[in-house]
């Protein structure tokens, strides 16, 4: 009609750099690639990481310096002293020595379960969500079934069936992973369903990428924060449920974990005899480790959920928060 654009100003193809809002100057320390998926450095994250690192180092290096935790002495149930910093058990074993080995055992199981459960949930959640159709129906039915089965009773039944002599830490880890992946799979599926309809996935398909490459290269990196948070969550859950199982006497038979320590403390009537040095340290370590991981998880949440995010990330970015806020809103609006 008559509202044809006049062939005057702006019609020319603009040379590079003259476009409005042209290239911003390369900011020092801009976040590219992997750095962008890392959480911002906050006090929350620092405390969480600090707790986790200290406990991990304790479990990793402690057993090297500690004595044999099984050594029996004839000084049963003595309180903390210069020789035994955390006192002794009923049979005169050093609690600190036991604590180092138990921490290592718990961390091992937590890590194993975390890796296995995350892998399982990624398999069922991401593939189901991307493939859609009958595969998705089957996978989500399966994970829903796993989700409604009450976890701890099932774990107790399964561990009860496995003979005690075959009940190694691998078996326990497997059982915990098999019962603990379903919730994460549902979260990942939901996230994948939203990602697979993004234009950049369609663009990758138009470019001719194979489905597995679309999943691994285009979708998975954008799921990393979710995956990391699910991993951290499943580590917490695994350490807690392993402690529960061991406390019930259904844990791994050949390993010592924080749960078995509590189990022996309970059997030795530590509570009744007010031997707090026996049951408080393992409980405290479980609580502190869970707290540390939860704090890390909260920091990861800020990546996943942009509403929790501050306008600028890091101290340098905070100075130009005006422009980056607009950017953040834009990138989340799509």
């Amino acid at each position: 009609m008559t509202s044809v654009i006049p062939p005057s100003s702006g019609l020319e193809d603009l040379p590079p750099g003259t476009e409005p809002g042209a290239l911003p100057p390369p900011a020092a320390g801009r976040r590219t690639g992997w750095r962008a998926v890392l959480p911002a450095w906050t006090p929350k994250l620092a405390v969480g990481l600090g707790l986790v690192v200290v406990i991990a180092l304790f479990g990793l290096l402690g057993p090297v310096f500690a004595g044999d935790p099984a050594t029996i002495r004839n000084i049963g149930l003595t309180g903390p002293s210069g020789d035994h910093w955390l006192g002794t058990t009923q049979t005169g074993q050093d609690v600190l020595d036991q604590l180092t080995h138990a921490t290592r055992g718990s961390l091992q199981i937590g890590l194993l379960v975390g890796v296995m459960a995350t892998a399982l949930s990624a398999l069922f959640g991401v593939i189901g969500g991307y493939a859609g159709g009958i595969v998705d129906e089957a996978f989500s039915l399966f994970s829903n079934v796993m989700l409604v089965i009450p976890g701890l009773p099932l774990v107790i039944v399964i561990s009860g069936f496995v003979p005690a002599d075959q009940r190694g830490s691998w078996t326990i880890a497997l059982v915990l992973a098999l019962t603990g992946w379903a919730a994460a799979a549902r979260v990942l599926r939901a996230q994948t369903l939203s990602l697979r309809n993004r234009d950049y996935v369609a663009a990758a398909r138009v470019a001719g990428e194979k489905p597995w490459r679309v999943i691994c290269v285009e979708i998975l990196p954008n799921l990393l924060p979710v995956l990391a948070s699910q991993f951290v969550f499943s580590v917490i859950a695994a350490i807690l449920s392993e402690a529960g199982l061991s406390f019930l006497g259904l844990g791994a038979s050949n390993s010592s974990t924080l749960g078995t320590m509590l189990y022996f403390a309970q059997n030795g009537f530590a509570l009744q005899r007010e031997a707090w040095w026996w049951f408080v340290p393992p409980g405290l370590i479980i609580a502190a480790f869970g707290c540390g991981l939860a704090l890390i998880n909260l920091s990861l949440d800020e990546i996943i959920n942009p509403r929790l995010r501050r306008p600028g990330r890091g101290r340098a970015a905070r100075a130009l928060s005006g422009s980056s806020r607009k950017d953040a809103v834009r990138s989340t609006a799509v």
């Binding site: 009609m1 193809d13 590219t32």
Partner: protein, 300 residues
């Protein structure tokens, strides 16, 4: 040079609500031809099926029936596995069509490698830099990530990505509707220049009649999945025949008549007896696609 022939394209979606299934015909017997060096604008309101046509041409959706064939310069149909070397798409939203995780280089390098246009890291970087240069972006942008670019820059990258496989047919699905008004013309003129240089066949999908006329040679108007009018750009816009096209043309604001409506308010879209007909400006007559198909069937 590649020509894209679209014949009798039909797309039906199955809608499920509970146990009941209904079928929605999103695209009904759409056909057109894209010729090298020429632009066809596909105009229609939201929901008229124009994006579905684009997605079928890009092979993101399977047509329910009908054919989409890329024909090479020798007149032979291009095989399916080479189809994507020839036909590429530019998406509407430049903020969604680039993966926020990857650098600009990744977006250009992948199609180059996948379509065998470059081998080895050095060559791929060289070709990617050339592509950026062609869309008026500095090669230094390669290591940036999409969120560091403006909308216009992103859309240029998306255009470069579509060119990377050496495509001869470009489907541009509302390429400027999400951009600032200030960068729209830049992107449109870039497309026009690339088209001149490479003799590209372009399908320009839009709901904006003004840019459709400015940018394209012929216009195809779609309404509710059907083509209601087709012909040279000026004819369709200056002499609209179908009631829907008339409504569409009257809806465009006219700067000369500020504050007043160009025509009387057309009111709710009048359903006329011509709803199922197509006005063909080239033939200069009304065409009934369904009747023609039936006639063809009875003749055969």
């Amino acid at each position: 040079m590649t020509t894209l022939e679209v014949r009798d394209l039909v797309k039906e979606f199955t809608l499920r609500s509970g146990l009941r299934r209904t079928r929605l015909r999103a695209v009904h017997r759409v056909g057109f031809t894209l010729v090298p060096g020429r632009t066809v604008a596909l105009v229609g309101a939201s929901g008229s099926g124009k994006s579905t046509v684009a997605r079928m041409i890009a092979r993101l959706e399977k047509p329910t029936s009908g054919t989409i064939a890329a024909v090479g310069p020798d007149g032979a149909r291009i095989e399916d596995r080479h189809y994507r070397d020839h036909v590429q798409m530019v998406f509407q939203d430049p903020f969604a069509s680039l993966n926020p995780f990857h650098s600009i280089e990744h977006h250009l390098a992948r199609p180059l490698v996948l379509h065998g246009r470059a081998k080895g890291r050095e060559q791929v970087r060289d070709r990617a830099a050339q592509l950026l240069e062609r869309v008026n972006l500095p090669a230094g942008l390669m290591d940036r990530r999409p969120h560091e670019l403006s909308g216009g820059q992103r859309q240029r990258v998306a255009i470069a990505r579509a060119l990377a496989p050496g495509a001869q047919v470009i489907v541009a699905d509302e390429p400027v509707s999400m951009l600032d008004v200030s960068s729209r013309l830049g992107v449109l003129n870039l497309l026009a220049r690339l088209q001149r240089e490479d003799d590209l066949a372009v399908l320009y999908i839009t709901h904006d009649l003004a840019t459709a006329r400015h940018f394209s040679d012929s216009i195809v108007v779609m309404n509710r999945g059907r083509i209601v009018e087709r012909g040279p750009a000026d004819d369709v816009i200056l002499d609209p025949r179908h009631p829907y096209t008339k409504t569409l043309a009257a809806a465009a604001p006219d700067p000369e008549l500020r504050g007043r409506l160009r025509s009387a308010d057309p009111g709710p879209e009048a359903s006329s007896d011509r709803d199922h007909l197509t006005y063909d400006h080239d033939a200069g007559r009304w065409v009934d696609i369904d009747a023609d198909a039936q006639a063809a069937v009875t003749a055969a």
